[in-house]
Every structure is written in structure tokens, then in C-alpha cells.
């Protein structure tokens, strides 16, 4: 593939913006968590784009492994976030029978 790595960064920016818009627009907690996953994926993509950029510049002897490594760490953190977030959703649903964020806005008022 000879696509410039900058196009990967543009794709990451678009995906992040879509995820951020969903995060602020949706009121279903589960969909909000999914939008966070989308944003973390965009961050992963930009890590990998940076790694690809450096590797193409330095050649096979200087492969840049920080990008994929930190992408793996981000994936682990995303899994952790999903597990804790969904456990919170289950606890919320047991107590309130709702997953709508507008129904749990006590701290906002």
C-alpha cells in the first residue's frame, strides 16, 4: 500500500470527531460507551500512522515499535473501560430501571 500515512491521520481525526459527536449527542449510556471505544480506536489509528511514518522514513532496520506497543496498551485500557462501564450500567439499571442519562442527572442540577 502506497497511501501516505497522513491519510491515516485524517481518517483518525474523522473517526475521533464522529465518536466525540456521538458522545455528546446520545443519551443511552451503552451507546455513549461505544462512542468512547470509537474515539480510542481513532487514537490507536494515529499511533499506528506515526509508527508507519517513522518506519518508512528509517527503513527496515529502524522499525518503530512504540506505536503498536502503545496501541496494545490502549486496547487493554479500552477493554478495562468497557468492563467497568458496563458493570456500572448494570448497577444503574438494577437501581433505577433506566439507561438514559437524562434520568440520572442529579449531580448536574
Amino acid at each position: 500500500m502506497t497511501v501516505p500515512s497522513e491519510h491515516l491521520l485524517v481518517l483518525a481525526a474523522i473517526l475521533f470527531a464522529v465518536g466525540a459527536a456521538g458522545f455528546f449527542l446520545r443519551r443511552n449510556v451503552i451507546v455513549v460507551l461505544m462512542c468512547v471505544e470509537l474515539m480510542l480506536n481513532a487514537a490507536n489509528l494515529s499511533f499506528l500512522a506515526g509508527s508507519r511514518m517513522h518506519t518508512l522514513k528509517a527503513g527496515a532496520t529502524g522499525t518503530s515499535l512504540e506505536g503498536p506497543l502503545f496501541a496494545i496498551f490502549v486496547i487493554v485500557v479500552a477493554a478495562v473501560e468497557a468492563a467497568v462501564g458496563l458493570a456500572l450500567v448494570i448497577a444503574l439499571y438494577r437501581n433505577r430501571q433506566t439507561v438514559n442519562l437524562e434520568d440520572v442527572a442529579e449531580l448536574k442540577d
Binding site: M1, L11, A21, I30, E37, A58, V99
Partner: protein, 183 residues
Amino acid sequence: MANALFYLMAVAAVAAALGVVLAKNPIQCVLSLLASFFCLATIYLLSGFQFLAAIQILVYGGAIMVLFLFVIMLLNLGDPGTADKTDARMFSRPNAFLVVIVAAALMAVGALAVRDSGTVAAANEMPENGIDTLHGLAGEMFGRYLLPFEAISMLLLATAVAVVVLAKRGKRGTTSISQGDVS
């Protein structure tokens, strides 16, 4: 050929991401997110990250998405009768316009920053085995990045404990976080 596939997958990934934001039924959101993850895995593969593509499908497609689906099924949210109605009018809320503007600005800043950075000359060919060879990754992860690796393992342990505490039923049939604590 590979370039065309990249742009096809990029468009599909963005379309699927829009599907996550716009779909009314949470099940449709999950399936759109899954499609987006698969498109991204293809892009990783095309960019020379074979291991990351496999991890993307195994961990995101296999584990995290199943977790989301499981919770949606458990709480019976896929039923259109119980789907919440507030998301249907999400674009008619007063600050929705602002959110869309900010998202568009984020995209524009990303595109402008990339345009101004100037293309880095791709002086070399992609390594034959891809960038993230298992040998190289393992050497880095258990060498220079051993401490973050151990920190991640502690994070996973803490998560396992936290999830059990949060989702456990108490003696009165409620969660261990009781009604009084939450409301």
C-alpha cells in the same frame, strides 16, 4: 489495488461510525461498531500491522463487542418497545448544533495540521514481515516497557475486582451499592 481497498475501507469505517451515532436501536449500534472495527483491522493489515489487526479482531470484535451485546441482551434494550425515545430527537436539543460544529472543527484541525506538516518522504519500502513482528514487539514489551506491562496487569486485576463488586447482588436483592447510596 491495495490503495483502492484502503480508501474503500476508510469510507466504510466512517460510514459505520456514523451508523453508531445515528442508529436508534442499540443492537444496530453494536453491529455498526463491529463493522467499523473490521474495516479498521483491514486498514491495519494494509498498513503493515498484522499482529495489531489480529488483536483488533480478537479483542475488540471478539471480547468487547460480545460484552456490549451481552449487556444489551441482559437488560432487554434491543426491544424497540423499550428503546428510549430521547435519542430519537438528539439533533433537536439546544446544543446539538454546537456539538456538530465542534466535531467539524476537530476534523478540520486534524486535516489542516496534516496538510501543514508536509508529507514525510517515504524513502524506504515497507519491511517484508510488517512493522509489528512478534519478535520485535516481545523484545520491547518485556525489555524497555516491562514496567508499563506490569502496571497494566495490576490494572486488569483491579478491574476484575471492581467489576465483581459493582455487579454483585447484595443480600436484599439489590446491588452492593444500595439504593440509598445512589439516589
